[in-house]
């Protein structure tokens, strides 16, 4: 056995998720070259991500050419729901994985006819924590909170609030029935991220959906500016 005292410290400094990040960069470059705007949609289980996507796809009919990747630990239920509104839906079963990774996105995109797509909606695994740190090659990150989850969720999930390009406050139609203080929620968000837009939406009533669709169009256009 070697003497544990005789050891050398080797300085390195390299990102731990370097391999994922490199894959994400190749995905991002490929999507940008094809003129596809990709968003990574992150929110807790039950925050209404799939219902929001259903409403979004319904409203986008004839306006955009979307494809959807949807990540879940198990079942194809979300994929089946979304396939009613969109021809190109790929369900990614992550098994044990609590978030999507860039390699899964790259594989799933092989099942999509990208020449027919100008908008890629990626519904991440329901989780407010793990997905945030894994770059998928998206152009923008969308954070989804629901009023039914409580007004403390932004404060408890600072990474998502700081990393998000837009925050959706979903199920706004249920506001009269739940204890959710908008001013508390917004104040917490503003402390963590002074500039992120907060859009109040309801997938059920359609309230606020126009602003969300406009955000998608405008962000896409902004990105294409030289």
């Amino acid at each position: 056995m070697s003497d544990p005292a005789k050891s050398t410290r080797i300085p390195i400094v390299e990102r731990v998720l370097e391999a994922n990040d490199q894959l994400a960069e190749t995905v991002r470059a490929d999507l940008a070259r094809r003129g596809i705007f990709a968003v990574d949609i992150i929110g807790a289980p039950g925050s209404g991500k799939t219902a929001l996507l259903e409403a979004t796809l319904r409203a986008l009919k004839g306006r955009r050419r979307p494809a959807v990747l949807v990540g879940d630990l198990a079942t194809r239920r979300d994929g089946d729901r979304l396939a009613r509104w969109c021809d190109q839906v790929v369900q990614i079963s992550t098994g044990q994985g609590c978030h999507l990774e860039a390699g899964q996105v790259r594989e799933a995109l092989k099942q999509v006819d990208l020449s027919e797509v100008d908008l890629l909606l990626i519904e991440n695994v329901g989780n407010l924590i793990c997905p945030v740190g894994f770059d998928l090659g998206q152009a923008a990150k969308v954070g989804v909170f629901a009023v039914t989850d409580g007004d403390d969720k932004a404060a408890k999930h600072p990474y998502l609030v700081q990393a998000a390009d837009v925050l959706l406050l979903n199920k706004i139609d249920l506001l009269p029935y739940v204890s959710f203080d908008r001013t508390v929620f917004e104040a917490d968000v503003r402390l963590l991220n002074p500039i992120v837009p907060i859009l109040e939406v309801s997938s059920t009533t359609g309230a606020g959906l126009d602003a969300w669709l406009e955000w998608l169009d405008r962000s896409n256009a902004d990105r294409l500016q030289p």
Binding site: S2, D3, P4, K6, S7, T8, R9, I10, P11, I12, V13, E14, R15, V16, L17, E18, A19, N20, G97, C98, H99, E101, I129, C130, G133, F134, A155, P158, Y159, Q162, A163, A187, D188, L191, L192
Partner: protein, 134 residues
């Protein structure tokens, strides 16, 4: 439990970067507060993913970088383990900022036992024995 994926990625990275045939004693990472990494969970995951590998028994050292809170009233800035805390001047809402770095900083490996046999190939230990026999 993003700790598991991170531990898994880290173990692969360390095995890739470690000099051939040298036992890894310690692995040091630096973690920004935004990452929300739980040190106890990370330690458990590290043990789990390194079990039965060349990294078994190695110690994971985590440099957990804190939040910086800046008071909009008095201008004081200080480090804090939590993002929301009152300032000593009474201001209730100092602005929290933190990094999202997640870096492998260093690894500590055993000195090479075989004098003059610098392991340069994949089969380093065998190569060392051959060198001595010659």
């Amino acid at each position: 439990m993003h700790e598991f994926s991170i531990a898994d990625a880290l173990a692969a990275q360390v095995l890739r970067r470690a000099p051939a045939g040298r036992r890894v004693r310690e692995v040091e990472i630096r973690v920004g507060a935004l990452r929300g990494l739980e040190p106890a969970a990370m330690e458990m995951c590290w043990e789990a993913v390194t079990h039965d590998t060349a990294l078994a028994g190695s110690v994971l050292v985590m440099d957990m970088r804190p939040w910086t809170l800046t008071c909009p009233a008095c201008g004081r800035a200080w480090e804090s383990p939590v993002p929301f805390a009152e300032c000593s001047c009474g201001e209730a809402s100092p602005r929290p900022t933190a990094g999202d770095e997640l870096d492998l900083v260093s690894m500590t490996v055993d000195e090479d036992d075989d004098v003059g046999a610098e392991p340069t190939t994949g089969g380093a230990p065998t190569a060392g024995v051959e060198a001595e026999a010659r």
